[in-house]
Subunit: 257 residues, 2 copies
């Protein structure tokens, strides 16, 4: 790396050919790397993420950030109807590019979590639950983040399986036929469920290794500089007192529309 600083400063001095991220940082053919994506776009895993009104913004976007870096991968946001879909806070909207009617074949289905109200609305939507069941028959991996596992459970996919979910929802998950496991993510057969919100990123890196190999997943982890050091250590209910647990749920509920 001794020469890279000089190279970058030189590049900057001559007009800035780059930020050091691509032009200078990476050899044209990195050892062990796949051919450039432009040659194989769409030839990698087809990842579909189901959006519904009231999803939590990080649940689909954390895994999307990870999985979209796999060679040739495509990430498609899907909803009952194409168009904008709002998050649980009402502040943010993502575009669903495809309707469920347009999508039959996916390598990976990911179901994000959302507000309690939002998940209960999906429970009462047989079109969505039917679609999940149908697509699941052809996936390589069917996955969820946070309360998304409740939706998989309601669709009947978790019967007798080990699974995880948002910490506060673990008892409810068991009413849907699953055995709750306390872990960032749990694989049982071809179903991988993850814990709350941010856990989707850990699950996605594991999934990345299944879709490619450990080395590629490790490179993606470095690519998104995922070396977490939060300023506090209260991310698990075991690390929080009962009042903090209550406050966490209250802030969440109050932020939701």
């Amino acid at each position: 790396m001794g020469s890279s600083r000089r190279d970058v400063l030189r590049a900057a001095a001559v007009g800035g050919v780059g930020l050091g991220l691509t032009a200078l940082g990476a050899p044209a053919h990195a050892e062990g790397a796949e051919p450039p994506r432009q040659d194989q776009r769409g030839k990698g895993p087809r990842i579909g993420i189901l959006l519904y009104e009231g999803f939590s913004v990080l649940d689909p976007t954390g895994p999307a950030e990870v999985l979209s870096r796999l060679p040739g991968a495509t990430v498609t946001m899907i909803a009952e109807r194409p168009g904008l879909v709002r998050t649980d806070t009402g502040d943010i909207a993502l575009l669903a590019e495809r309707s469920i009617a347009q999508v039959r074949d996916l390598d990976v289905l990911l179901v994000p979590g959302g507000s309690e109200k939002a998940v209960l609305r999906v429970f009462e939507n047989p079109r969505l639950l039917d679609w999940i069941r149908r697509v699941h028959q052809r996936t390589r991996w069917t996955t969820s983040v946070c309360t998304g596992s409740m939706i998989l459970g309601k669709a009947g996919l978790l019967n007798g399986l080990r699974a995880t979910t948002y910490w506060a929802g673990k008892d409810y998950l068991e009413t849907l036929g699953a055995t709750f496991v306390k872990a960032r993510y749990v694989r049982d057969g071809k179903i991988i469920t993850s814990a709350g919100v941010s856990a989707g990123q850990d699950m996605a890196l594991y999934l990345a290794s299944l879709l490619t190999d450990d080395r590629t997943a490790q490179a993606v982890q470095l690519g998104i500089e995922y070396d977490p050091h939060p300023p506090f250590d209260t991310g698990s209910p075991d690390k929080a007192d009962p009042e903090l647990r209550a406050l966490a749920l209250k802030l969440l509920a109050d932020s939701q529309v």
Copy 2:
């Protein structure tokens, strides 16, 4: 917690009043909690996130997930023109609700990172750089994720300051007048920059504590179950060999349009 399992199962048995996330999990008035958000919506911090074509999806959405949980907070996606803005992979589009012309006052400005091409396009957009400079004069906190700090630097905001950025861009950052610091996030005055992509979440929790207090930030961390355990430990360039570093940059570049 002994009775909560029974309560949830009973609730489920009588028709499912909830998933355990709100109805049963949180007391109506949790100790130390603010009044419900519906009473104070819009009275908390006004957080604006600047989108531009080619941003990386996790850069705005990770912090948005954290900051939107603060009492009364609003998160607004902003772009040069209102409408859909696509990520660096081209796969995902977020809605910018407001144009830069519509926004003058923010408590927090957040500038996400993006592909090298995307950041270089912003460098050549004086309207965006002017807007950043103007809004910065009135913010409480001006922040960035990943290569977003390059944009703050190009706008002239990092002159003589300590700052951080994406690991591969640290030398370039120094050509913009900043002193690079290796950290998940760096605060100098009212500017807080963060390291690559996923570091925005760590920064946002720190920022949450500045906007409220440690206890509230800790509750938000639990609210998004941010207790990270990635399957690998290669999220920092120090933990990767040169080939893995090259592969990381190559996967990133190949995934971008």
